[in-house]
Symmetry: C2
Subunit: 203 residues, 2 copies
Amino acid sequence: MGDMTTTPASAPAPAPAPKQDRSRATRRRLLEAAVACLAERGWQGSTVSVVAERAGVSRGAAQHHFRTREDLFLAAVEYVAEERSQALRALDGRSRAEVVEALVALYTGPLFRAALHLWVAASDEPQLRPRVTELEARVGREAHRMAVELLGADESVPGVRETVQGLLDMARGLGLATLLTDDAPRRARVVAQWSRLLDGALG
Amino acid sequence: MGDMTTTPASAPAPAPAPKQDRSRATRRRLLEAAVACLAERGWQGSTVSVVAERAGVSRGAAQHHFRTREDLFLAAVEYVAEERSQALRALDGRSRAEVVEALVALYTGPLFRAALHLWVAASDEPQLRPRVTELEARVGREAHRMAVELLGADESVPGVRETVQGLLDMARGLGLATLLTDDAPRRARVVAQWSRLLDGALG
């Protein structure tokens, strides 16, 4: 999904073709609209038409980019997960408490809400399930990798891998709790306490 | 919902009226069928008719017990949560690791799956949302109370309350992870490690 064109190091970067630019911008608008739609309306309420309208794109153009509804929503969740992952990288060098807070924030925003709707729909829809399972595993591995790096965790020490996994499971559980009630003050207290436990466990 | 009749201690227990018995048994069958149905088919696929058929009860009889679809499914999730809470009480006196395992198991079975479908549906349906939010808060408070008791946690010590809350959030997150992939071996390793950390934190 990245830019696959290669440019010789010595050549000046060519001016991007305006048409290709427009196509990329349309694709991005569709992906962002798809995540917002899924987060707000759930799977049942999220159709290609609804997303196209929200993105200000014709239904035909949307189908040019994404052949099926499943293609659109899987790409959307993956796209936003990659954006968030980029944002996490900027935290390198911050304190452990700040990193834990940022990791928990990953699971309490619209992306998590959108992903949750997709997971729940996938658990009942056989044609969606294997693709969502694969995507979720990939996004989960990336989150774990980032967490280990940012927390400065040494996974060669017994128990450290499971400590980090448990932390991400807790973040996911906190995200679920915010689905119905936004309990930010409670969440902040739990995060502060578990950051302390984590400090003890990671040394 | 409990048995509200009172019997003087000295009198022999009266034989229960068969009609009342049948009515209670029907109600229980409907509640159990509703949870199973919600866990397997999700909110969209769970109608009163589907549940009545599964319970072997006429649609009219189902509506005699539960006036609306919302009434049926809220009562079902509450009923099963109470059953699980009763089962937890039997763990009194077990080791901390066993208690943590049992608490996590609360969030990885069909009850959690059913509740999750109800939460996700409620997050999009204004008429369902306040009732599910209230039920979830009540069930959550009870789970916290039981966890504190069974873990022998002293909440007057700073941080202990948040430690137990974080543990239940982690259990919820582990339950969410099992929605698509059943990762029981990973779960067991995370639970074992966090039981050790918990031992350190609770003293």
